[in-house]
């Protein structure tokens, strides 16, 4: 293919990526950017050019050894639900912006440790980036028709320009904000897109090779299995090979947590914890799909080309051999995608580390304190931009110097071994609160030196001296110091060997030093926060123990330098509101110190944040015992606060209940007073009558005619009767209202009760010549207190008679069965109930209020008692509204 066509394809593809990143950045909140699939696909940045091309090379040359690189993550991923979630929580809480920040924070914001981690990451990642550039350059060479294409100078080398383009991309989308702990949605979206492309194109070429060029998997197997040495390609050769295999699995297990780009995508760019739910099964599936066709592409290439010289690029060479340049272009683009995503995410992560953990804490801090906020944020961004370019260009020169010597696979493994030196301080620090910063530093240094000696030095010396003496005879010709066979252990492959020695010494040093030297109080404070993170999330800002003297104004000044006036004031306002402190607080407490450190961490890294804050406060040393005591206390405080809150809630409820009860009592008391008033008034009326009549009889005993005397005596009798009735009713009513009445419930025929009631009142009815009709003659048996219901019926009937005209009066008693209740109605054709009285007729002594206009015709308690009885039966009583002539009174008795 023409060089220019190829370059224009690359440029168009990069433009598409720019556009995607731009869109995602613009629509940061969209669900297209924030979902578990994008998260999972961004994790697939793990599959770089090494996976895309390198695996095939290994499968063709040495067989099964490409698999451990993916088995490590497959083993690690189920653990994410515990480990990664913890890391994500801690990182979010402390606004961590890189793995160097994470580790240095765990060991009490240790500045040197942060720098050391950064340097290890640089050493581990630069060769890795150069590996990607190597892949770009070599695939470019294969794709371009100019077969003699060999770069002579940097200016001619298209790889250099590709590297620069990538640096521009990373700079543009990676340094939009000063706070590096903010999400880079544009980059993540483009990485996810690239992950789809690389997988799909790799699967397409796999299917094409296996099913189009060959006749399926069995065909390839049958052809390849006759070759000599085939057995070594498909099996492990024994226990020694098994050990290699184990070390490679452990290596990749660590790498999937520790590689700066993996930490960036899995921890820092994680939007929601629940995205893990999908990622934990989807990510291994992605890796599985990627590995399915590797062996078949490798064997097909071996069968087609015979030699395994260029085995890494079989996936490109096979379609080109068959003149399918379109497919070759797809494969090239897939590989290019793998390169871009890896390079961009790695440089982004590294540049943050370099600026926040190396450059700013060592040299730029003093300058920042004097500067204006706008200039500070510009400085920080510029430091990162320059770092990105420096990293990519250094990687390019590493590639120029060394890559031609090494395969993709060996470069990748060198990176893994170096990065793995962070493992003890990272994993052990996460679960062991004794691990101290000194131990982490010494352990990582020892491991790093061993890794350099056993892995980096041999090939570097080979390039410079051109001989293999160092590897052959060891340092100073001491055979036990041979870099690939330290102390005579010569059966491991170089990376596994380096891993074994460096990791053993690293872990042992870490543990021994941790036990020998105690960390200072601040370190222990953070150790507790990390190890016991579940407990300390609730403590939030009070989890940091700090004693000393500091002024809010000083701290605010520091914040303004980096966040600007507006953001700093807003942040402080939020802080004061959150902890309910007055806005004009003068003295700062531990919470404010912690809060401000967190605020600064995103912009300048945790170590620098600590140094900056420490420069404006007077800190007192606190003993370790005190730290632990305070932590324990704050934990207990939270628990007891919770209990107190519950208790006070209970009290509030109780007091409101009491209030209600009190109000009820007061109103009851008022009712009682009113009742007594009315009763007294009612009792007075007949007594006055009796008294007047008796007086008259006594005074004019002789002169009074006999019939008038009899009339008076009759009046006295009537009034006494009324008095008696009244007292009886009052007692009855009291009994009902106070609930002292017990119903004598028995199964009775309601029809018979109605007949009884009519019979008992028929005398009075006959006297007034009012007709009573019993309409429903069917019997119905239900449970009620017959005496009381008789009382109700008699009451209603006598009321009805009272209001009926004599002779024309007609009363109808009827009942029907309704929804689980008997509905009994008494209908009359009397003068009816005035509209304004509807709501009051069942009130006690209601009629008494109209005594001036109407003659009292009863005690005034009849309907009130009736209502009480019906309600005692769980029934209802009411007067039907909208009746033209007379009145209809209805009551119900429920039955089951």
């Amino acid at each position: 293919m023409n060089n220019y066509t190829l370059i224009s394809i690359i440029v168009i593809y990069l433009a598409v990526l720019f556009y995607i990143a731009f869109l995602a950045e613009k629509k940061r909140q969209s669900k297209w950017v924030n979902n578990p699939y994008v998260y999972t696909l961004s994790l697939a940045v793990y599959c770089s050019a090494w996976t895309y091309y390198g695996s095939v090379g290994i499968a063709a040359n040495s067989g099964i050894n490409f698999l451990p690189i993916y088995l490590g993550p497959v083993i690690a991923v189920p653990l994410w639900i515990v480990v990664l979630r913890k890391i994500i929580r801690i990182s979010k809480q402390h606004k961590i912006s890189s793995i160097a920040d994470f580790i240095s924070l765990r060991y009490g914001n240790n500045r040197f440790l942060g720098a050391l981690v950064t340097i290890i990451c640089l050493f581990g990642t630069l060769p890795y980036i150069s590996l990607q550039l190597k892949a770009v350059s070599e695939t470019f060479e294969i794709m371009s028709d100019d077969s003699s294409y060999i770069s002579t100078t940097v200016i001619d080398d298209s790889t250099f320009y590709v590297a620069l383009l990538l640096a521009v991309f990373a700079t543009f989308f990676g340094t939009q904000r000063t706070d590096a702990s903010e999400k880079h949605k544009g980059i993540i979206a483009s990485v996810a897109f690239e992950s789809v492309l690389k997988l799909v194109f790799f699967l397409i070429i796999g299917v094409y090779v296996t099913y189009y060029l060959f006749d399926g998997t069995t065909d390839i197997y049958n052809q390849i299995s006759v070759l000599p040495n085939f057995k070594q390609l498909t099996t492990l050769s024994g226990v020694e090979d098994g050990l290699n295999w184990l070390y490679l699995i452990s290596l990749s297990f660590m790498a999937v947590f520790l590689l700066p780009r993996q930490f960036q995508v899995s921890v820092l760019e994680n939007n929601r914890e629940k995205h893990l739910k999908k990622a934990i099964w989807l990510f291994p599936l992605y890796l599985l799909l990627f590995n399915l066709f590797v062996i078949f592409i490798a064997w097909a290439g071996k069968l087609t080309f015979g030699s395994t010289e260029n085995a890494e690029y079989y996936s490109l060479l096979l379609p080109l051999e068959n003149n399918n340049s379109f497919l070759a272009t797809l494969v090239f683009l897939g590989g290019f995608s793998a390169v871009i995503s890896m390079v961009i995410v790695s440089t982004l992560a590294l540049s943050t580390m370099v600026s926040n953990n190396l450059i700013i804490p060592y040299g730029f801090l003093d300058k920042f304190i004097k500067n204006q906020p706008e200039r500070n944020s510009k400085y920080i961004k510029n430091i990162r931009r320059i770092s990105i370019f420096t990293i990519i260009i250094s990687a390019y020169f590493f590639y120029v110097l060394f890559s031609k010597e090494l395969s993709l696979y060996s470069i990748g493994l060198i990176s893994f071994v170096i990065i793995a030196q962070l493992a003890p301080s990272f994993f052990l620090g996460l679960y062991w609160n004794r691990g101290s910063s000194k131990a982490a530093i010494i352990g990582a240094l020892v491991g790093f030196c061993i890794a350099i000696y056993t892995l980096v030095l041999p090939f570097t010396l080979r390039v410079y001296t051109g001989t293999d003496d160092f590897t052959q005879f060891g340092l100073f010709n001491i055979s036990s110091l041979k870099p690939y066979a330290l102390f005579g252990i010569d059966f491991l492959s170089p990376p596994a060997h380096a891993f074994f020695w460096s990791m053993t010494f690293n872990v042992m040093t870490y543990m021994v030093v941790s036990l020998l030297a105690k960390g200072n109080y601040r370190e222990r404070n953070y150790a507790e926060m990390f190890v016991d993170s579940r407990n300390f999330t609730t403590l939030q800002d009070s989890a940091l123990v700090w004693k000393g003297e500091a002024y809010v104004a000083d701290i605010k000044n520091v914040l303004i330098r980096f966040l600007g006036e507006k953001r700093a004031s807003r942040a402080l306002n939020i802080f004061f509101t959150k902890y309910k402190l007055p806005k004009d607080t003068q003295l700062a407490d531990a919470r404010l110190i912690n809060f401000s450190e967190k605020l600064l961490t995103g912009s300048i890294g945790s170590a620098s944040a600590k140094i900056l804050i420490a420069s404006v406060v007077k800190e007192e040393r606190v003993s370790l015992v005190e730290v632990l005591k305070i932590l324990e206390e704050s934990k207990e405080n939270i628990v007891s606060n919770k209990v107190l809150l519950e208790k006070s809630n209970e009290l509030t409820q109780l007091s409101s209940k009491l209030k209600e009860a009190n109000e009820e009592l007061i109103s009851k008391d008022k009712q009682k007073d009113e009742f007594l008033d009315t009763v007294a008034h009612e009792l007075k009326t007949p007594i006055t009558g009796i008294r007047a009549a008796t007086e008259l009889l006594m005074d004019e005993d002789d002169e009074m005619p006999k019939d008038i005397k009899a009339q008076f005596l009759k009046n006295i009798l009537q009034d006494s009767d009324r008095l008696g009735r009244l007292i009886h009713n009052i007692l009855d009513f009291e009994k009902l209202e106070t609930g002292r009445l017990n119903l004598d419930l028995q199964y009775q025929d309601i029809q018979k009760t109605i007949v009884k009631a009519i019979n008992s009142i028929s005398q009075i009815a006959a006297k007034k010549e009012v007709q009573i009709i019993n309409k429903n003659t069917h019997g119905f048996i239900t449970s009620y207190d017959e005496d009381r219901i008789l009382q109700v019926l008699t009451n209603l009937l006598s009321n009805a008679i009272k209001f009926c005209e004599s002779k024309t009066g007609e009363i109808i008693v009827d009942y029907k069965l309704g929804n689980e209740r008997v509905e009994i109605s008494v209908t009359d054709n009397g003068k009816g109930i005035p509209e304004e009285d509807f709501d009051y007729i069942f009130d006690k002594f209601y009629q008494s209020k109209h005594q001036n206009t109407r003659k009292p015709a009863g005690s005034g308690l009849g309907l009130a008692i009736t209502k009480q009885i019906v309600e005692k039966h769980q029934g209802k009583i009411w007067a039907e509204k909208g009746v033209k002539n007379g009145a209809i009174l209805v009551f119900t008795i429920p039955f089951k």
């Binding site: 497959v74 083993i75 991923v77 189920p78 515990v82 099996t235 062996i295």
Partner: protein
């Protein structure tokens, strides 16, 4: 997610570590092929797929 269900995944991880390493891996370490896939590859891929299915089931059932 309850601790018990989290621990299921932890145990899955331990089991994978054991099965993917010597001596267990040597069980599948012989020549031959199933559907044209060498036995060792085939068994590793199967365990791999099985682990995906197990995590999928555990997570969809118990993740809150």
């Amino acid at each position: 997610m309850k601790k018990r269900h989290e621990q299921k995944l932890v145990v899955l991880s331990i089991a994978l570590f054991l099965i993917f390493n010597i001596p267990f891996i040597l069980i599948f370490n012989f020549e031959g092929a199933i559907f044209g896939i060498p036995t060792l590859y085939f068994s590793i891929f199967s365990v791999w797929l099985l682990s995906i299915i197990i995590s999928y089931i555990v997570l969809t059932r118990h993740y809150e």
